[in-house]
């Protein structure tokens, strides 16, 4: 690890000029991407941005606070349908996205409150039930889900004279950048340190004056908010919603993204999101085997490389930097 000399330096996102250079290069590359590549690649990247937002939220919960939720599909559905219904009513886009996040966050509080007061894996069970219940409610209620035909959501109108895929790419890229910045700042703030303290030793954290229920709930609500926004963005991208898009497997996908990318790292969530989007594309002729790939990767990662893809990357960098001295 690098030497940090002051609190200010600790809070700084980019600590070295070279890192700044690489990040700038990456952002510039992503900004130019839709001009250089095919429409299909642009679409895949858009999906990765959307999933990264959800994966970051999930990582705040699992990686930083050490709680599991299997109900992300439920929050995703709530976010997506809130967004869809509001968009059909004609309210402006930012309001819709905000409402999608807030609705998911509120439901998060509702589920989290009873289960977070207890120790142990109660949150996992309650959220598992919650996700499946939400799916069933949407599947059984025609008013909410828009009936057999599904719910059509108005798509994004192109701006600045860009083409449709480009404008939706830039819109999602913009939001992705905002959420990534928010995650970084959250993690290095008091709140983020409270989360980590709860994960590492909750009794010690409580002794140090961290209100356990409060911060666990906060973490859960924030992660649900991220997921809700992801749902809204997804609805905007696809332009069509049906309950089958929010099954248990969808929750697992986000979960897998976090585990494979690396627990407790924002970069890891992004890498993981890329993984879960790219694998089904690569295995498109063997769709049923995608869960097997996910499952095997989880086993391998957890047993041999608990810090995930991002951890592997850091180790490789350290190795190369110190080469030939070890």
């Amino acid at each position: 690890m690098d030497l940090v000399e002051s609190y200010r330096e600790e809070l700084r996102l980019i600590r070295k000029p070279w890192t700044g250079f690489w990040v700038a290069l990456l952002v510039a590359g992503l900004l130019l991407l839709p001009w250089l590549s095919r429409e299909y690649i642009t679409y895949i990247f858009t999906l990765i941005f959307i999933y990264s937002i959800g994966a970051q939220g999930q990582n705040l919960l699992i990686g930083y606070t050490g709680l599991i939720s299997f109900g992300q599909a439920g929050f995703l559905a709530i976010g997506a349908y809130t967004f869809g219904h509001l968009a059909r009513l004609g309210s402006p886009l930012p309001v819709n996205l905000l409402c999608a996040g807030i609705a998911a966050g509120l439901f998060g509080l509702l589920v989290g409150f009873p289960s977070l007061r207890l120790k142990g894996p109660y949150l996992a069970i309650a959220t598992l039930g919650f996700g499946i219940t939400v799916y069933q409610i949407f599947a059984n209620s025609e008013i909410l889900s828009g009936g057999r035909m599904g719910l059509n959501v108005p798509k994004l109108t192109p701006f600045f004279g860009l083409t449709k895929p480009m404008s939706i790419y830039y819109f999602n890229f913009f939001l992705f950048l905002i959420f990534t910045l928010v995650s970084y700042n959250l993690v290095s703030s008091y709140i983020g340190r409270a989360f980590t303290a709860i994960r590492d030793n909750d009794i010690a954290a409580e002794v140090m004056g961290v209100n356990l229920t409060h911060y666990k709930l906060l973490s859960f609500a924030i992660s649900s908010f991220y997921t809700g926004v992801q749902g809204g963005l997804y609805a905007l991208l696809i332009g069509y919603l049906e309950p089958n898009m929010f099954t248990f497997l969808e929750a697992i996908t986000l979960f897998v993204a976090v585990i494979i990318g690396g627990l407790a790292s924002v970069e890891g969530s992004i890498l993981g999101a890329a993984f879960v989007i790219l694998v089904p594309q690569i295995f498109s002729s063997y769709k049923t085997l995608v869960p097997v790939v996910f499952g095997v990767t989880i086993l391998i990662v957890l047993i041999f490389e608990p810090s995930g893809l991002f951890g592997r990357w850091m180790k490789m960098r350290l190795y190369l930097r110190n080469w030939p001295f070890r």
């Binding site: 309650a126 499946i132 069933q136 409610i137 979960f255 869960p291 097997v292 499952g295 086993l299 608990p306």
Partner: protein, 293 residues
């Protein structure tokens, strides 16, 4: 009144199958503190195995026993090949729970790949349509046998855990692992047996659930969730609690389906989880939580 009895009986019959699922979950949770998220998928794999054996014209009883052994074997293999290496590398409880989830994903994918996702009907020697009429209350042959097998399975598990040396070793291991190790109990073997036993119970439930539900890769998801709800209701670390919770859940669900609406039936399990967590988090028969510092 007769309607009420009717709903209660069919609720008891389905509840006794939930009890088998819940017992498996509680058995594992009690001994290793791991919530087994692959429980439903293990049971599905075992049921599909039985389905294949039956398709090969092997006698029902033989394929029944073989599939129970298959389920148990898979769970024990998972314990020895995955969980123990993970524990050697000091995986947290959270990590181990996620490992079971990974196993569940692998099963789901493999089952869908091998047997396809189309629902299939499970050939079962007892019929769903042949009914018995006991004092005005109608119960199908299948329902009656489910009730019987559920109670019988629970009873044998009770005998095993309470009356045998193996059961004593299991209880000792779940009570205090280091102390059990010091006393010379082969805790790994005992724990692996607990895993195998739990998976076999799951397969047992799966085989009796399959004729009523159609057989597809996700057919155990709902019973698995109900089993969880029942285990929470009865107390996550209490075996009798799991049985009581399951029977209660079965009856409550059947009554809710009959008197309120069928759509409400599935939401009930979730409502029960939330209600129990708010009112009495340790469950009906569970011990009170105590935190040691």
């Amino acid at each position: 009144m007769e309607k009420f009895l009717q709903y209660s009986i069919s609720g008891l019959s389905i509840g006794s199958l939930y009890a088998l699922v819940a017992l498996g979950l509680v058995l594992i949770y009690r001994s290793t503190r791991i919530l087994n998220f692959a429980h439903g998928d293990m049971a599905t794999a075992g049921t599909f195995f039985a389905f294949t054996l039956l398709g090969l014209k092997i006698k029902f009883l033989a394929s029944f026993v073989l599939s129970l052994l298959f389920g148990g074997g898979v769970a024990m293999a998972f314990y020895f090949c995955i969980l123990i290496p993970a524990q050697r590398r000091e995986a947290t409880i959270l990590g181990q729970i996620i490992l079971t989830l990974g196993l569940g994903l692998i099963f789901q994918g493999l089952i869908a790949h091998i047997w396809g996702t189309e629902p299939q009907s499970f050939p079962f020697p007892l019929s769903d349509s042949k009914v018995w009429n006991i004092g005005g209350v109608v119960i199908s042959e299948l329902g009656l046998s489910a009730l019987g097998i559920g109670l019988l399975g629970s009873f044998f598990l009770y005998l095993l855990v309470q009356k045998t040396r193996l059961g004593l070793a299991m209880r000792a291991t779940s009570e205090n692992l280091p102390a059990a190790q010091t006393l010379g109990i082969p805790t790994r073997r005992v724990l692996s047996l607990a895993w195998g036993l739990a998976a076999s119970l799951g397969v047992l439930a799966g085989i009796f659930l399959a004729p009523a539900l159609l057989l597809d890769p996700f057919f155990m998801l709902e019973p698995f969730l109900k089993g969880f709800a029942a285990a929470i209701l009865g107390g996550l670390n209490s075996l009798p609690g799991a049985i009581a919770g399951s029977l209660l859940l079965g009856v409550a669900e059947s009554l809710a389906g009959g008197y309120i609406s069928v759509a409400f039936k599935n939401t009930l399990a979730f409502l029960i989880i939330i209600a129990v967590l708010i009112i009495r988090p340790e469950g009906l028969l569970g011990k009170e939580f105590r935190e040691r510092i």
